[in-house]
Symmetry: C2
Subunit: 480 residues, 2 copies
Amino acid sequence: MSSRPASVIDDDRRDAVRAYVNSHRDEFVAQLSDWLRIPSVWTDPERADDVRRSAEWLADALREVGFPTVEIWTAGGPDGAPCVFAEWPSDDPDAKTIVVYGHHDVQPVDPIDKWSFAPFEPAVVDGPDGDKLLGRGASDDKGQVLYHLLGLKAHLETSGRTSPPVNLKFVVEGEEESGSPKFTQLLKEKRDRLDCDAVVVSDTGMYGEGATTVCIGVRGLTDCQVDLHGPDVDLHSGSFGGAVPNPLTAMAKLLAGLHDDDNRVTLKGFYDNVQPLSDREREMIAKLPFDEARWLATAESRAAHGESGFSTLERIWARPTCEIHGVWGGYMLAGHKTIVPTDAHAKVSFRLIADQQPLDVQAAFRAYVEENTPPGITANVHFFGDGVQPYLVPLDDPALGAVASALGRAFEDEVLFTREGGSGPEAEISQILQAPLVFLGVGLPTDRIHAPDEHAVIPLLLKGAEAVAYLWDELAAQPA
Amino acid sequence: MSSRPASVIDDDRRDAVRAYVNSHRDEFVAQLSDWLRIPSVWTDPERADDVRRSAEWLADALREVGFPTVEIWTAGGPDGAPCVFAEWPSDDPDAKTIVVYGHHDVQPVDPIDKWSFAPFEPAVVDGPDGDKLLGRGASDDKGQVLYHLLGLKAHLETSGRTSPPVNLKFVVEGEEESGSPKFTQLLKEKRDRLDCDAVVVSDTGMYGEGATTVCIGVRGLTDCQVDLHGPDVDLHSGSFGGAVPNPLTAMAKLLAGLHDDDNRVTLKGFYDNVQPLSDREREMIAKLPFDEARWLATAESRAAHGESGFSTLERIWARPTCEIHGVWGGYMLAGHKTIVPTDAHAKVSFRLIADQQPLDVQAAFRAYVEENTPPGITANVHFFGDGVQPYLVPLDDPALGAVASALGRAFEDEVLFTREGGSGPEAEISQILQAPLVFLGVGLPTDRIHAPDEHAVIPLLLKGAEAVAYLWDELAAQPA
């Protein structure tokens, strides 16, 4: 038996919100299509003006909804990526303050020949989960930003209020698909404008398969290149083989030693700060429909594999990992050349779980390399930056409760928790703004974000708007 | 105290041979220089006519010495590499038959800009070990073939004989530096012409450092490429990392597992057929002057490393090894790309010691890969041909005794045994001709064979001629 989270929204209110949202479906789709026609690809310098146009478009839309303050900030100087900021204070002087985060830039469209439609000419077609809106950015992330506007309108129209029940601040950045290189600096600069009690991130998805879910965590990441150097010249393996250290053998041993027989990472202290999976979350994960054979087919892998004692979903979401992304060195062409080569190289990353710190893991890896490099081989480890911190919403976080209640009301369903295996700036946003952060997202794994044929499922975007309409009441109803 | 091997050559005879050889020094150098002017690079198709010219040159020289039968054979059809065959039966009907093996093709001269003289314009300069003759092929192998002719002339002149005391057959091939691809086929075709009691190979060197040595073994070789295939597409390591097998991790474990903590190769049965080093040979190896620091400087390596319980020379000469020559897979460019890649590749070889069989090692490696490839990864092992068999002259081989006696007489020195770490066709020659094989060579490690500035030390070539002059008597004197 599934159980819906408790909600402060009564049935009449729900009916009113739902009716408002559904009656504005065509208007919403038309509006989103307008926005999707703007190819806001910040990674392409030739599209910079389009990204600015996209910001202006959103600023106008926010003004139209009623935001009294709408500004366009740029990250890292006037030519930086345009970030839309909007603020609508509540009439209630005791109201909580909420920052909504999203982004209006979109992924590049390469390989363009793999698309079955024009990425910036949106169209509606039917699909297994309801009508789909086709277009780059439909799901990631314009559709998920825009349902916030529809949800807020629904909230105001059905509540009779003239301002939201929380002080609302929107921060919709323009360089997320470029890795937000200057965005956190912008957050720091604008820190005093962004005071808040919680952050709602709408840039993630749901589990799919009919489950109503809320994401509660993202993995962190730190990655590096390791270079091993042996002899200064390639040596004839007949004349020298077996008597000098081979950097490729040393690299193989180094990389092989990173996992033990239980596929646990062997770095000293690696698991010390990992928050263990709670029984409650494990139960929730176990409730999710998961067809391993289908999942493997998606991965185009012939077997599941990972840390002993954990399921596939637990391994991806809730456990830290180490992966090798590339290895090279020595003779790599056709045929044979029997040398002891001079060098070996590898790219290695660690995915992290709260409360692991990337810099701690970097230090542990450096120590591991130092300890396991044989005499005669010199090692160099180069980490690409300071890494990305993991983020995990505490299960008892009130804002998480509010999101679950709002989603449960919108979908009339039990709400389960998921996590994402990937990495985002969430931990840093939360730290800079000194506020807890929660996720509200209705994308599906089948939306093909970052890939050709991106689309969004229109009924889900409308459910997102519904959830938003409830969310501000749910948050307002919580004790301060 | 060093002790010279016993010899049948008395002092008078020695003095006569030495006087003959030394008085023909200038003639020998002029003759060799003539031959070195012919750029017989068989690997360069444009030099094919030069290689034919080189064969004709040698054929004429052999006729001039007195060989009644001189023929030019071609390996693999009329356009094949020309191999010079010459035969001079002994007048003694009970004489043993000896095949002398060498080659008249030379290595290419690239990189030509690294030479300090013109490779095919021989010249004499002085050097630390005596005058050097500069030129491609001076040491490898024209110089070592030509001292056989001078040695035979010295033998006949000083013994008063009109034919050699053994039935002499010369086989001087023209595609050795191309790996002798068709030479063994030629040997099989001409098998009935090549009946013999022993083969003398003059294509190796001495240890140098003033030691008088004879090579008694070469390592065999078998090498392969291993390909591991994981997922059919590169996967996002955030979405899939830690839950599917990574072919690079599997490759690292596979390669790391090839050596145990004592740096012994872990393949099942790998050492079963390895002839252990005898105490006598270990003592001889220990007697050789060996400066490990200097050796490491030559290798441009910062440490020695290898199988526990063996010295560096023993590791290179007398122990089988496994080396990794190349590894590649996944993302190998600048920066980072956090994928679980589809593929991992490696080039791996095994150097073999008699009586290891390349095909046995191939089977053991295939079994190892099969046993150690995790579920979800498919492995493919491709060996480059059937491999090269190792060869080891038994220490009690009579022909080895004869070579040691001849060399000891020529150098007036104790004769120590060495081996070579590399590989040659010796085992196959010995098998096809069903005869034991010994090495007689006076090249030095400093001769820069296969490299720019190849040269030979003239006094050593003359010592080679002297040794040859004694060798036929030493062999003839042995019981049948």
